[in-house]
């Protein structure tokens, strides 16, 4: 049986980790490689790096930061942001990533999901999506719309339909980022996360809003996810008290009876 997998997700700008709220107002948290090494030592199950400005500024992926992290972190590393070609994917994997996260670029050019999956295998391609609550309407039957470019641009795509399409194209995992819940510490957007987890066969990851271990437990128990992204809980400067990975896992295990990897 797989454990409840906890992922630390870092928004990175110029090798520095930053923390946003509703995809805005990023605050500097610290050096990316140092923070990644610290959460690895603390028992994190996986690490994701999003180069949040690479796409908007048409920059190449930050390979130096990926290499610095990969030299000392021996759990899976996913990298996203600024990846526009198979060549970029090769260089990011060569630098030390296991998985490639495609978000806005996958929406703009869905074929890149298929190409990456064919070249590196399904397990290597993560479809990451930013979703926002909208009124149920024709074309958006789930009541959730996919947004791109740092949650700024609406696509008209229904979130569940886009997840299904991503799986068909070859994505091996789907991360559901809730724009409405991002950085609120009020809990994940369980409804759309569960709708997507039940609509696809690949693993689904909850993202955006966790403020307590109970929120994390609800993602596994109620939204049927395989993994949960915890960021604020670990290091948000906006949280009164952050927790260690091992403290969160202890609570998931003791209070919520979830299987966790203890280190």
């Amino acid at each position: 049986m797989l454990t409840a997998r906890l992922i630390a997700c870092f928004d990175v700008v110029d090798g520095r980790v930053t923390k946003a709220r509703k995809f805005q107002d990023n605050i500097d948290v610290g050096d990316a490689a140092q923070i990644a090494a610290a959460v690895y030592a603390d028992g994190i199950d996986e690490v994701i790096f999003y180069d949040i400005l690479a796409s908007a500024h048409r920059r190449r992926p930050d390979l130096a930061t990926i290499e610095a992290v990969a030299a000392q972190v021996f759990v899976p590393l996913t990298v996203g942001g600024g990846i526009t070609s198979l060549e970029d994917m090769h260089s990011v994997l060569e630098a030390g990533a296991e998985k490639i996260s495609l978000d806005s670029m996958g929406v703009r050019n869905p074929e890149i999901i298929a190409m990456g999956s064919k070249e590196f295998g399904r397990q290597c391609i993560v479809q990451s999506m930013q979703v926002r609550r909208v009124p149920v309407q024709p074309g958006l039957p789930s009541g959730y719309e996919v947004m791109v470019d740092g949650a700024r641009v609406a696509t008209g795509l229904d979130a569940v339909a886009w997840a299904r399409r991503g799986e068909e194209l070859g994505a091996g995992e789907i991360v559901v980022n809730s724009i409405d819940q991002d950085g609120t510490h009020e809990g994940y957007e369980l409804r759309i996360t569960r709708m997507i987890a039940d609509a696809v066969n690949v693993p689904v990851v909850a993202s955006g809003g966790a403020g307590t271990p109970s929120h994390v437990a609800a993602a596994f128990g109620d939204a049927h996810v395989s993994a949960a992204i915890i960021s604020s809980l670990l290091y948000s400067p906006r949280m009164a008290r952050t927790m260690s990975v091992n403290e969160i896992k202890a609570e998931l295990s003791k209070i919520h009876d979830l299987p966790v990897r203890r280190t």
Partner: protein
Amino acid sequence: MSNTDKAVVGIIDYTTGNSRSVERALNFLGVPNRMLKSPADLADADRLVLPGVGAAGTTMDYLRAAGWPAVLDELVAAGDMPFLGICVGLQVLFEHSAEQDAHCLGWLPGTVRAFDRAHVRVPQMGWNQVCPEPGHPFTATMPQDGYFYFVNSFYAVPGDITDVAAKTAYGTEFASVVARRNIMATQFHAEKSGRLGLELLLRFATLTRGELCSPRD
């Protein structure tokens, strides 16, 4: 100290695999290692790692194009060079894989099958428990039910159960480690499995050939 302390681990280098992740893990552990693009690079390599990501058919195509199978047959299957396969590097040791209908190295009897999508999410992606079986020095110090990182859609079904060195459950029970004499392989990514994975890699890299290779058969 034995003269194998400085044993160089050769890592078979793919163009699209994650050979570099194994290299980074060995570097972190202080284990001398070298990437091998082809058998011509073997030189002083004392033991070999075959990492794997991607598909069994693609991996076999790559190995054939680089001229590996005949050399490996001689050094590993007929010889006593310690060999560690990882992920797809485990699957290609068997006779056949359902993935891309691939004919594989055939060092171990058995086949490779797909997980049943009706019962479990595929790929299996995450940390799962590994239960070692007694019998092979490679797994002798693994804890019972330790967690290791898996990413796989296919799993091996060994034809000889004495080759099963550890088991894991994902919808069905499957061989998560296989070992026979000098041939060892893990379905999980030892290089991405935190401390326990690094310990297993270190064991493969630093035990002497005599200590590492089971006298069985």
